[in-house]
Point group: D2
Chain length 368, copies 4
């Protein structure tokens, strides 16, 4: 089956040209199967997710797809086209500095009040009405009389598509990074399907990102219902996949990640074909144990610890070279950590100010 | 009396050069008089505050200054030197996008617990210990073993100076702006001393800015004490003065604002000389009534409404020119608002994306 | 008569979206009347030319237009949409740094050889063939097998339109600027038609700008022919109009400049209606006498000399404020010049590095 | 022997802080041995040269150094510290867009006239006076009454140091690059000493770079003398070494390149110790045969051809992925070239506009 193509208009440039995003869709064959929404490239330099969507489409076209699939590559036309020197300045709005992935809408819904009004409904009806409420919240936000910012319009337009799905996957990358996954705690088992060795286990806290925007309200609803004595499962799954490094297109590796996503979709019944997950060691780390190491001084950095490889306490993490201090003890500083960790990503540039986020590392990792 | 000069080191560049800020200080003659801390230019393009500090210094050197005065111009050496084309890209960290004025530390202190432990103290002792607790919080944050970001180091270093003062004044500007003042609700009378026509009346809510960082913990303490039946005044006053437009140095106008600040300092007993506030109409607006108007479409903008001048409902705010739509109704769109307002500032550029924050305006203004 | 609209495609973004420019055209009623090409906004922040084109169109639609008129507003979609902070970073290619207005093609044609081959032709035929040669040069450049840069594609695409015209007008602005005009020496009389007080008289030297790209080859041809004893006039007129400051749309002032352009077009017979030039003093300055004054030190700048107003030797040009030097002779430096001049423009930002181009000024001005 | 450290002041920031560069020097033991000047990091992201200087210093301190050695790491403090997002925007002046490596001074000296006046001198005297003339030219340029730009001040300050040396080495890197060398034609044999496989053979043409600034005037002098019947060798050698990719510090690889430089310095008698060049295949390519391949369309790029590896005609160079064209022939375009070449470097980002310089490749290479 072939995907149909349409466009999502998310803004307008100063010259009047529309900011439009291609939307690819396969219709549901079974309305009971979960609906899927996958987007890529909300951060301008993080292009590999587009290649994964490309490979996904090639696979899905030959498969027996039960649930509706909506794919949105190139999700941030403003960010993707924002060059600064030889790189893509697409992490934050160039005017305001706001991170494009922190603009999603927090629904400040009064869950207890809403639940009291709707508690007589069946689970299915409850989910249906809650979803409508979330969509109405997005619409109301976009329709404000004083307008909304460029970034908010983009984010909430994407969020409306996400709220219509049961499975939401946001494809990102790190700067110089190994593959890792953001996974909500209630869905931890899902991490064993993707072709990704490291998973961050997230709590029920909204920080502005797409995955949180998709799952937090549902999780809150389910938790509140539980407090009222009603057990429900969280009906929406949402993940952020970090597909190694930014500024990289690798078609073969994209196929690997596409197959991992398909393994999960197969498990969930979105595709009827059986796709087995890759056998590999998979590790988890609580988000609270995910640490940022900041450059203790300015200088030039030799990154010694490779992302994805265990670093024992005391092993060299990086060297900081200071030519202005040649001949002193400061000329070359070896940086170590006092505890074991797995470096997940490091800064993209080899020169840093004091305080630059040098590495992000998982500590206290456990097998999944 | 002459100011002494010292340096505050707030970071280190990639080349190893220190980021240092000049600090000017007059010692107290009367230890009972309020201590003052004034900084300028935390946003790189907002330079006029430096000229105001210059004029303040020239005045203070000839006056009878009772309380300690600490002045910190050029407070963000990284931001001030960050050029992009012919302008200063100094509003946010060029690496992370984080607004330099949203990096101050929120002290997540457990006020009820702290108060229970210290409620036996006199007001003066209580204030003293609370201040020490705030300073210790800053020190602890800077000493974290994983380090802190460049922006956090800068902000918390400044905050430590601010926490030592009773009066904190942060000098900013808008993009294209008239003069206005951020003033906490409990200190509303202070607005009648500065040479500034428009004041935003702020609630007790931390949003990351210096003024809030300086007054919020104290206000929370006083409110909690009140809930426990003890009446105290908030002992710290903190204001942000927006000195018209960015990318502007005007020495004469700087003297006007310096005299306004001196009128307030005279009222507070920091200087023994009598400096009368300028007689002028002064208006207030609750922060909740301060509205952002976003560009309803992309295009070229003719700003018609001048900052600081009342705009009646239905009067033209701006024209949006769309050359790509010549010959259609979209070629020139006149924008109006449905209610009276005072435009306080508008965007610095004449070309905008859809959603760009075009104007900020006060609504429901009242005389102070 | 109404303009027809078409699009010029000048490139493609990373997301695949086309870079397109609206082209407005009125056909010739008299093929003998000069053809006109006017473009605006090649530098992204220099938007006022679009407003002038808008006003020109409104006027021309009611006039008796004899010659073909081609108008190209928003001529650099990439530059116009390139924001950096609150300003438009549209002066140079964000990837390469090359000034968008230095990318036009220099035709390295062997004029003597070409002339020998074509000297038997009548003037009209000679002009015709020369024009075809220029157009063929542009086409050949765009068709190179190794490709051309983004900026070259844009510039040469515009240049092809310009080479088809007899009158070429490129609408720019300065940073903070009064109106001024770049006028080739052989066309000096033309300066008396535009509504512009100051003109720079240009020699026959290619520096990469549109006006030079349009007139230099013709001027070289005519000079060579003169050296061979044949007198011809330069058949192409090309001007750059600097319409005051960037980041500004002013519809009324745009009408003033539109009328000035119409006065010139009326004089040249493009429009049959009589449009008189505004009576005003007009001054010239040789390009060699147009001086750049660079900041003698880093610091904050109070610009004292207003663009367009004669500054006598020794009068204050600017103050440079140095808060880090408070209390020394360096705290406030007054800058003067040793000779009379007319400041034409100054830098857009109030903080400068040592060496920043502070002012451009005309020296040795003369009445036109 | 230990290096002495001093500072070269090359400018002043807006905050007043000096732009200073560390200068390391070993004095000559034999005044007849060639003087050496090596600088690194004129482009902000090209940091590896600093590591090479570090390793050079460690080696030279233990060696028998005959000629004066001057080393200047971190040569562009403004560029090195200019961050934009996670990368270093240090290729061009952020205000003007001018490439930092195109700012060196072209001495428009009238060689024939100068030679006539000095032809009676011995070679040594002639060289001496010519060198003084070049230095005086630099001084005069810096002392201009209207000032010089920030970039010019930096470049000419560096150039003054270079003009005092007999051997000038400028350490750069490419974006994603293999090692290569710019070598003037007259010094082609020198390429066999450095640890670098590919050399670009340069003609006698000034393009604004340091190596050209150092050798061009001398080459012109020698050529003119030859035309007057006097044979001299060009007494100055100048090279640009491109040390693989930018944004990379690799201390081991830096030692490899330091040893290559030492092999050349040993050959030239700067160090008395014998350092043998590494045995390796070395290839040359005329600068005229060094080709830039521009992206034929916008899109996402999978770089397939590795820098430094021969690519046969018709082999895949890169894929251009276009998600907006999924399902059409444009979805994935394979790019090939019609001739054999060695890709030397490619663009640093995986998303490109149409026209972006995708690859630079050597064609018609020959063994050295």
């Amino acid at each position: 089956m072939r995907f149909t193509q349409s466009s999502l208009i998310v803004g307008e440039l100063a010259t009047g040209q529309e900011l439009s995003i291609p939307v690819y869709r396969l219709p549901a064959q079974d309305l009971g199967a979960p609906k899927v929404f996958i987007q890529a490239n909300v951060h301008g330099a993080e292009v590999q997710g587009n290649a994964v969507i490309f490979q996904l489409m090639k696979q899905l076209e030959t498969m027996d797809v039960q649930g509706e699939v909506t794919l949105l590559p190139l999700a941030n036309p403003l960010g993707i086209n924002q060059k600064s020197g030889e790189f893509t300045l697409g992490r934050f709005d160039p005017i305001t500095g706001v991170n494009w992935n922190r603009e999603y809408l927090e629904h400040h819904c009064d869950i207890p009040a809403w639940y009291q009004q709707h508690s007589h409904l069946s689970d299915t009806e409850l989910y249906h009405d809650f979803r409508l409420m979330l969509l109405a919240g997005c619409d109301a936000h976009l329709a404000q009389s004083w307008g909304v910012t460029t970034g908010k319009r983009l984010a909430v337009s994407l969020q409306k598509l996400a709220h219509q799905a049961d499975i939401v996957i946001d494809l990102h990358t790190g700067p110089k990074s190994c593959k890792h996954l953001y996974c909500p705690e209630y869905d931890q088992h899902a991490a064993s399907y993707f072709s990704i060795p490291y998973s961050l286990i997230m709590p029920n806290q909204f920080g502005g990102a797409m995955d949180e925007a998709a799952f937090c309200p549902w999780w809150q609803l389910v938790e509140y219902a539980a407090s009222q004595g009603r057990e429900m499962t969280v009906p929406v799954s949402a993940f952020t996949l970090e597909l190694a490094s930014q500024e990289r297109i690798d078609m073969k590796d994209a196929l690997v990640d596409a197959m991992g996503i398909l393994a999960y979709l197969s498990h969930r019944g979105v595709v009827a074909d059986k796709v087995e997950p890759v056998a590999m060691a998979r590790y988890g780390c609580l988000l609270a144990d995910y640490k940022k190491y900041h450059a203790p001084k300015g200088g030039l950095v030799e990154y010694l610890a490779a992302p994805g490889v265990l670093l024992k306490a005391g092993q060299p993490l990086a060297n900081i070279l200071r030519l202005d201090c040649y001949g002193t003890q400061e000329e070359l500083t070896s940086v170590q950590l006092a505890q074991d960790c797995v470096p997940i990503l490091h800064f993209a540039s080899a020169s840093v100010y004091q305080g630059t986020e040098l590495y992000k590392m998982m500590t206290n990792i456990f097998e999944l």
